[in-house]
Symmetry: C2
Subunit: 248 residues, 2 copies
């Protein structure tokens, strides 16, 4: 992990861009912290530059609660090389959505399964590097982004002890089986009228999770209309489970 | 409205029992309040004595957030006269549940519709009397209890401006139509594995509400297993919508 830039945001949060091999990423740490800060991995749909305003807003919110946050670019997004197969599947999804047709399971599998298989080891490698930094401690949470990545991470990565998942993207059927093996506390956000998301499938997925402690927080509106109160509820979930102290 | 007893609880909350005609009720007011306190009506399944520990706990939680709370006995519960028809329907429900059978729509109608028709005017009369007291102001919220009563109140009582509803009791089909006419902000609690509650029906009801702002907060566990975090989320909802000030 190599830091490539560093800036102090106006609320004191330290923002550092880094590369992990060929993968770009960003780390945010609270301005004042006496003890190592718990870490939240910020998921996203791909495209760090495009997503930066929303990621930075989430990072600042988390920093105010005492959390460090970090994210990395997804394979095939931003400046990272494209895969022909993924681009093909992505085009099929776009055509189906534009035509108001359901997206085929096979298309979802070809889009999401390779993404999960490639990105999850990358997030785990980032976690190795991040937890080795001074000022970053455990426990670790995962928040948002492609829900299939969150599911796989929750199953295979024992250092992640709580997750906020956003039921707003495609989930291959195979991941429903993995969901049954998730046991960490979950806080699942659902936008009730999400244009690109099948509500019943999201409810089935929530039901499938094996966690004894799981909350579904469903709100009105479309994909990007998550209300402020839902963000606050997710923040409260992390504070309960990762035990950050408020740094004011 | 006539007060019949008064006691100061150890956290300073003033608890007063009253009767409104033949109907017993309880009013809790925060220990210290400089301005008239917003009021939350506390719903329950009937039986004030049996429900007292849980009602008092909710009342103290609300008082800490600056709210006054009040409740009245339901018709046919506690010391109030029974109706033969309601007792008959209640016995049918019990037999169906014990036999693991679905409860017939006709039985639900005979149990719940007369309860709603009788109790809603009583809650409104209680509201008239409560809002005339010094130290009690608006806005008014309704919380929990028999959800069909909450739906009807939200439709017919313009002084209620936000409601926390518990999707945990029978809802006659006719009330689904009334649910479409509810427009106030709603926070709906659902216990995912509620023994006596049909989950799909609860989700359909949530979908039916006409409110632009509605949140479904679903948690693991049975009817009485609502986690503390869900109570806190409901309290946050009232604080946002009824604007109580913290009294410390």
């Amino acid at each position: 992990m190599r830091f490539t830039s560093e800036q102090r945001l106006d609320d004191g949060v330290l923002e550092r861009e880094f590369t992990l091999g060929e993968i770009p990423g960003i780390l945010w740490t609270p301005g004042s912290a006496s003890a190592p800060a718990p870490l939240i991995l910020l998921g996203h749909p791909g495209g760090l530059h495009r997503m930066y305003p929303r990621l930075a807003a989430r990072a600042r919110h988390c920093a105010a609660d005492g959390f460090a946050t970090a994210t990395i670019e997804l394979p095939g997004s931003g400046d990272r090389p494209r895969s022909a197969a993924a681009e093909q599947a992505r085009a099929e999804v776009r055509r189906a959505v534009e035509a108001g047709q359901p997206v085929g399971e096979d298309t979802v599998d070809r889009l999401i399964l390779p993404l999960v298989d490639t990105s999850v080891p990358e997030w785990r490698a980032a976690l190795d590097a991040l937890l080795a930094l001074p000022g970053i401690g455990g426990p670790v949470g995962y928040s948002g982004g492609v829900i299939a990545i969150g599911i796989r991470l929750a199953v295979v990565e024992p250092r992640i002890s709580a997750a906020v998942l956003f039921a707003g993207s495609f989930v291959p059927r195979a991941l429903f089986e993995e969901a049954r093996r998730v046991t960490i506390p979950l806080h699942v956000l659902l936008q009730w009228d999400d244009e690109g998301n099948d509500r019943q499938s999201a409810l089935d997925l929530f039901d499938a999770f094996g966690s004894e402690e799981k909350t579904l927080n469903a709100n009105m509106g479309g994909h990007t209309g998550v209300p402020r109160s839902a963000g606050d509820a997710a923040a409260g979930f992390f504070t309960r489970h990762l035990g950050a102290r408020h740094t004011g």
